[in-house]
């Protein structure tokens, strides 16, 4: 059951991710990205991170991506036009990426030989209670400091995007 679930959602995630990259229309890319996020949320559930899974859908898929879709619709972004790309990217891009992929995959395969098998329900430490407790004790400072981050984001978005009031 675990294997099936993992495979199904991993394949969906990878297909959607490929779609993000190859689709020429931004809105198609955006929806594929939502697909990736949704399937990742399921994988988070399998890994016992139920609170983060919900947050993934609410924050990422439900808020951040809505913003993307909103902006794409607002700017009426059309199909992407391909021009001559930078020479460096053309020559070095693909080999570098393949090298990176190989490295990361090799890394993943070899690094943790003794890592436990993932079985749904074996680890249930990701409840809202556990996450909340960690956030407000050990991770209190980063938690509070992220509020500054959000303040900046609000301020910055307003500074850049507001209408001139004159």
């Amino acid at each position: 059951m675990d294997v099936i679930l993992f495979l199904v959602f991993a394949i969906i995630a990878v297909l959607c991710a490929i779609n993000v990259v190859v689709q020429t229309h931004p809105i198609a890319s955006a929806l594929s990205l939502i697909g990736v996020m949704g399937s990742l949320a399921v994988l988070y559930l399998l890994l016992g991170a139920e609170f983060i899974a919900a947050a993934q859908v609410i924050v990422y898929a439900g808020a951040v991506m809505v913003l993307f879709v909103f902006v794409i619709m607002l700017l009426n972004a059309g199909e992407e036009v391909h021009r001559g790309r930078s020479f460096v990217v053309q020559v070095l891009g693909a080999p570098l990426l393949i090298a990176l992929l190989g490295l990361l995959v090799y890394f993943a395969q070899r690094l943790f030989p003794g890592a436990p098998m993932v079985r749904f329900g074996a680890f249930r430490g990701g409840t809202a209670v556990a996450v909340g407790r960690a956030l407000f004790t050990q991770y209190l400072l980063p938690f509070e400091v992220t509020s500054v981050l959000i303040l900046i984001a609000i301020l910055g978005a307003i500074v850049l995007a507001r209408k001139e009031l004159d």
């Binding site: 991770y139 400072l141 980063p142 400091v145 500054v148 303040l151 984001a153 910055g156 500074v159 850049l160």
Partner: protein, 488 residues
Amino acid sequence: MYASLVPTSAEMIRFLPELILTVVATLFMVLDPLLGRQSRHVYGHFSILALLGAMAAAVYVYRDPGAAFSGMLMVDGFATFFRVVVIGVGILTVLPSYRYLDREDAETGEYHALLLFSIVGQCVMVTANELIMIFIGLEISSIASYVLAGYLRDDRRANEAALKYFLLGSFATAFFLYGVALIYGMTGSTNLATVRRAILGGSLGSAPIFIGVAAALMFVGLGFKVSGAPFQIWAPDVYQGAPTPVAAFLSAGPKAAAFAIFLRIFLTAFQPIGPGWEPLVWVSALASMTLGNFAALTQSNIKRLLAYSSIAHAGYVLVALAARSNVGTAAAMFYMAAYAFMNIGAFAVVSHLSGKGERYLKVEDFAGLGAKQPGTAALLSIFLLSLIGVPLTGGFFGKFYIFKAALDSHLVWLTVLGLLNSAVAAYYYLRILVMMYMREPGEAASRIQPLTPGLRAALVLPALGTLVLGIFPGWVLDFAGRSSVFVR
């Protein structure tokens, strides 16, 4: 029951500089709609007061060093040094901003609020002792800087600068973060000291090459932030497009903070695998110096020229990192302080000369500045000489200590190539000097405005700093040397 959740007052005090800045910046957001256009200079005054307060707090806090908030922060000499540097950079950025924002008709509380927030982020970065905390500080600093770079939102170049800075910065962040994830996966912790212990303990059951992969990923991320080659591509466009005071800030503040975490991460957590990453830094240092200096030779736009020069200077600091010694760390710290002074000073002159809408930005526009405004020209000469590395300036001792540290660590070739690079660099700085003193005044110099008090301070203070560091380097260097010992 809730007592365990409340941080102690000692912990809060260790976080005092950041608290002061955050409170004042938040106050600006509230004040902005209340104050009219008449009192717009108030923000600048308050910013400077807040920054002075924060600097005092940073120094005061150092009397009782130690960790805070479950090991998230570490107030030590290194952190205090860089806190003072980034806060000082903030003050030196606010001073020329008065005139600049007046001229561009863009004075609002938001500019100052963003600047203060950005400095909060940098302070968090340099004090953090934990990868996640570093990441959050980095993001605070970066996001505020993205907005600042595009602050003049009707200016096409500023938009473009903000966008490039943003896209490449976020891209770099993702790499940094992947490195953090791998480190967490291998060591089970993101606390730098714990990571170091785990790597030293050899309990990982895996070759150090894997740690190396994580280090390389973080190197990519940090390389972008310090604009070291081959990750420097964003810097020229961003510095050229951003408002000049902001460009000055970007070249000193975020860069100093990025170097601080670069040093801290690589010399504590990754210190055990030093021989592994040293060639990487070696190559990057050499590439940065060479690329920066040779590209700067052909630039006609002064901001772009300074951007390439800033890439080259990042290369020098990377040399200090490659030395992997306490002397190298101290040299890097000294260099960042000196560089902050001289570079911000140079940018302040550019900001002064360029006029409304930044019309005069070419090297030729400096023609005859020496005749029209001898004081400004003299101060700019100090900065340029310091950037070249002429004795009696901070730049000289900075370079001197860096190459000395490199030689101590037997990096002979890097030292030789670095010195050659400095010689090349002299050419383009001297070109400006020649332009200033040996040409007839052009349009830019003849239209130059008299110095305002803010600008005067913005020029004189860094010049004083440059000279003090050049004539009495001992005190700062002593402090840097004492603080460069991370692992006790």
